[in-house]
Point group: C2
Chain length 341, copies 2
Amino acid sequence: MGSRVEEVPNKQVILKDYSSGFQKESDLLVKSGSIKLKVPEESSNAVVLVKNLYLSCDPAMGVLMRGVPVPGFIYPYKPGSPIYGYGVAKVIDSRHPNFKKGDLVWGMTAWEEYTLIPKPESLIKIEHTDIPLSYYTGLLGMAGLTAYAGYFEVSSPKKGERVFVSAASEAVGQLVGQFAKLLGCYVVGSAGSKEKVDLLKNRLGFDEAFDYKEEPDLEVRIDVYFDNVGGKMLDAVLLNMRIRGRITACGMISQYNLQQPEGVHNLMNIILRQIRMGGFTADNYLHLYPKFLEKLLPHIRKGEIIYIEDVARGLENGPRALMGLFSGRNFGKQLVEVACE
Amino acid sequence: MGSRVEEVPNKQVILKDYSSGFQKESDLLVKSGSIKLKVPEESSNAVVLVKNLYLSCDPAMGVLMRGVPVPGFIYPYKPGSPIYGYGVAKVIDSRHPNFKKGDLVWGMTAWEEYTLIPKPESLIKIEHTDIPLSYYTGLLGMAGLTAYAGYFEVSSPKKGERVFVSAASEAVGQLVGQFAKLLGCYVVGSAGSKEKVDLLKNRLGFDEAFDYKEEPDLEVRIDVYFDNVGGKMLDAVLLNMRIRGRITACGMISQYNLQQPEGVHNLMNIILRQIRMGGFTADNYLHLYPKFLEKLLPHIRKGEIIYIEDVARGLENGPRALMGLFSGRNFGKQLVEVACE
């Protein structure tokens, strides 16, 4: 009581108001504030103060900016408050028995330099620090678990199959492709530029890749379609599925910036080709995280799985980085580095 | 050789030409011909001559009339030849060791009074004749197997769930509803008239039923949607599915009379609600037919499963009966009685 507590600047990314129509950079405001580096006395016992290091940019965040709820996120953003999402952080002060000063964690945090986490039970402690910490926003975070659960738990994958991944150079897609290659599949990916196509073929080990903007007419036979984009691509794929193929519905980024989603016309093929289509969200597979880590870490350490990141440095560059997802400006997993440590 | 063979009249339903746009009654022609009641000497050994008794009217036949192939049917109809489909028939003459004169069979046959079946291996012998023979065009034929495989093999059904069936008074739908009731589910059905709704509620044991033309805005919580219609109904259901619900794609009759299928806009719900959507065609489940019979026959004999048929008498009334499927003129399973025995 009465002890002096250091007060430091705390930059924040605030949602000005719900985006009308498509979310845009000017809906967000970078604001300077300050914060005391101690969990306030009046807070409940179970509160943790963290310093944010890396913040994940996820397409779902654009949906939250429009006030629309998304599974896995507790509530849509509130105008006047900082936006939030997945991130990597370091514990500065803690009243929670599971966390102590210096712990590294990943989980839901706000877009600001320091955050009071009201329910720290959802934070996951980072045990393996020989891996770049930023990977816990993607490869070893929700994107990784999404790719793992979606491919191994939802897609019923088999060795030797033909797997097609859309948005294949993105946070989730690049991993699905590598998982399928490890299983011994023939993997085809689509992306939105020549550079991304080269990345898929030359660094990520895809057997084939194409620029969907240049080659809209798909002609591949597909056993498993891992769908990150929805819309017209899904419609085209339905005409190219093999009998008893599987479509794993992971995301529909082509639809997130539309007032009204596009119609998909070729669903009759689900009957004709005896397709199984399965949707999922990774927050329902959090119980698999330890198994996922155990399986992935050796591959990562041996360099058999790599991960391409696009890092925006400084919280003030966060809004632009986040919006870049919707025009495909990012090259690999987009994240924001708030601080190195 | 030289022995006298009886020649009898043989009425046929001929496809004049591929339907341009939506198939219509005038695309079909009832023609009088004649046939010798013996498998011709020059035919291969494995040929069977049958007298057709009952012919099944199936929505897929409208698609075949437009020259479009359909799984489970060997080829689209040929202009100038009789159309074909599932039916019940009696063997008149046989060169195949598995069949003898007097045998009752069901399977693919042509729309005529007498048919030479070139590959009789696909015919199934009717063993249980205490059940009305016409039921082998529906309840104990492909519609029954479709309902059985689609519900029990594809829908992952559980006791106590809420099941919604569209086109619920039709050949397949009326059975799915009764199967779900037997399992202890709460069953809701849609149909296209007040009389059909009454049938569902008062005779087929559905818990709720509604006329989709009067009540287009669906508001029910659904665990399993057994989809026989596709299009707008599927779009509406996607907004009403429970988390981890299943959609079984069996048919899309609302789309069969359109040049271009309607777009389905709400597929994002497959992700958000973690839905599994599965398509199937019953011809891939023929191996289950003996098990299906064993399971169904006791229920039918005890009157626990009933079946509503709409019987057109006389082959000459076949074209109108078949076309009635597409305007919903039929009341229950539509079939044509060619002869009683």
